[in-house]
Amino acid sequence: MLLFFCLLALLCLPAAESPHEIELGLPQTVFTLNPKMGVHTRLTDEVEPWKIKRTLEMVREMGAPWIVEYFPWAYHEPFPGFFDWSHSDLVIDHANRQGLTVIARLGLTPDWARPADSASTFLPPERYADFGDYVQAFADRYGDRVPAIIIWNEPNLALEWGFETVDPAGYTKLLAVAYHRVQQSNHPHVLVLGGALAPTLAPPGHEQAMNDLIYLQRMLNAGAGEVMDGLAVHAYGWSFPADDPPHPQVINFRRTELARQLLVDNGYAGLPIYITEGGWNDHPRWTRAVKPAQRIKNTIRAYQLVKGWPWAEMVALWAFRYPWPARTYLDYFTFVTPDFEPKPIYLEVQRYSRGEELAR
């Protein structure tokens, strides 16, 4: 009898909602005066489908047609050859339905592809082919909806290179593996973006990092120009205005122009640049932050600058929204709070994208 009532109770429970039960809704279009505007979203750890949808709706409503999103290899291939695309389907389906173009960042080594006790950013060279499998599988599945992928993240930092000595030639080998596997996929037109270097003035021989311009030159010396379709650039402005002129000893937004010049000098003027991270922080006291009013002006100016750069395809600023508060200065990079309250910068960028006057 007890068993009967237990079964009855189970039958009476509402069916668990599958992640796809949030309706995609009708296809939308992004209305904007600047088609190069983008943001880096942070949906990797966002579990609830309605929050994914709402985030992407708000990106569209702000007037940004591009997003960059992270699709960690470790999450999507938890066992060799076993791919779990449930979360990436959710993000890409909703993004496309909102009229957004997705650039996918791929990286993060699964446990099975690296030695025990190694960092998740460490990938031994003998496992590059395994990463190639993931890249090809990703391109096979999403190549008709995701036009470009970024290979790894900030490999000029030891932190992002498995706490090993950074290695531009080694990274170029990884890039080459990814490039050739995309060529072998069902969608060989998917663009492979290399670099995504952290802007840094680390002196020669620094154990934690290599100057991004030096690293890029060494990548190009190792043949990177032949195995990428574009260069991903991180363009943080720190405390400098967007118009601050570029200089090798300064980290500012227009440092991007120095990366562009390196491509030109090395005979790769035809490679476009995608700014896949960047922006300003408006924490009240963090030493690298600017005042909120300056952040608004710098951000809009950065979008305007990139619109005028024929060699730059888009700019995705960090970061649209975090799933939960970081409770540090990092919260002051965002455009929207975790509970979807638009910050003033969101509203001002929205006004800019619509051609309206700013609030002040």
Partner: protein, 277 residues
Amino acid sequence: MRQRAGVEGRVSRVMGRVLGFRGAFILIGLTLLLGFIVWRLYPSGDDGALAEIQRRGTLRVGLDASFPPFEMINETGQIVGLDVDLAQVIAADLGVEAEFVNIGFDGLYDALLARRVDIIISGLPYDPRWTQDVAYTHNYFNAGQVLVTCANNNAVNTVEDLKGRTIAIEWGSQADMEARQLAREVEGITLLRQESAAAALTALFGGQADAAIVDAVSGVSAFSRGLKIVAYLTDEWYAAAVPIKSQALLEAVNETLIRLDESGRMAEMQAQWLHGQ
């Protein structure tokens, strides 16, 4: 039950035969005494961090010296600030020297858990996600957003008194967000957006606004100019953090924080560092 009593009885009889009843009582007494000593030294699973700090003679303090006026590097390359002074008082109470370890904010908790530092004192907001691994001390500063007005303004004493009045705020800041929220709740509020928190306060003192919303650091800094806090609109409490098992250290730090608070010394230290920020 009966069987268990039988086992205990057999153990007593065996001990009695081996040690004699007097010897057995002495052994039990010594065990209890040893247990009491251990309990006093390392209460409730304490990791012994306080004893180790006192043996070493230094309290290793983790901070990110990029956060004035709480911690920053001065012209001579020294780390200074409110948290630095606070750490020195805590260290003195423990009978040791403070040793400062400058770490990026993102790495502070990892450094604590890896035992590279004994305590974090770094304008650290309480974060419930870390409470399985760290213990927070008593709060010592609320850095939230405050509604302020001139000290001689008797018309604005609550949020409701803002009806039909002008509020100065820093354009784009969290205060701007809070003001927009208030404007939805209280009728007839006009927002006066300025380029900075300082400019918002200047507008208040200049009579262009009836009130202002600024972060608490900016608000407390302006007390000497004749400002009063009407209400905290948000809370952002700062506390120090120690590993969750450093209970004796936690207790000792809390004793210092309470003493500083009750004696008024904490307010003096805050006034010293926040003035003119």
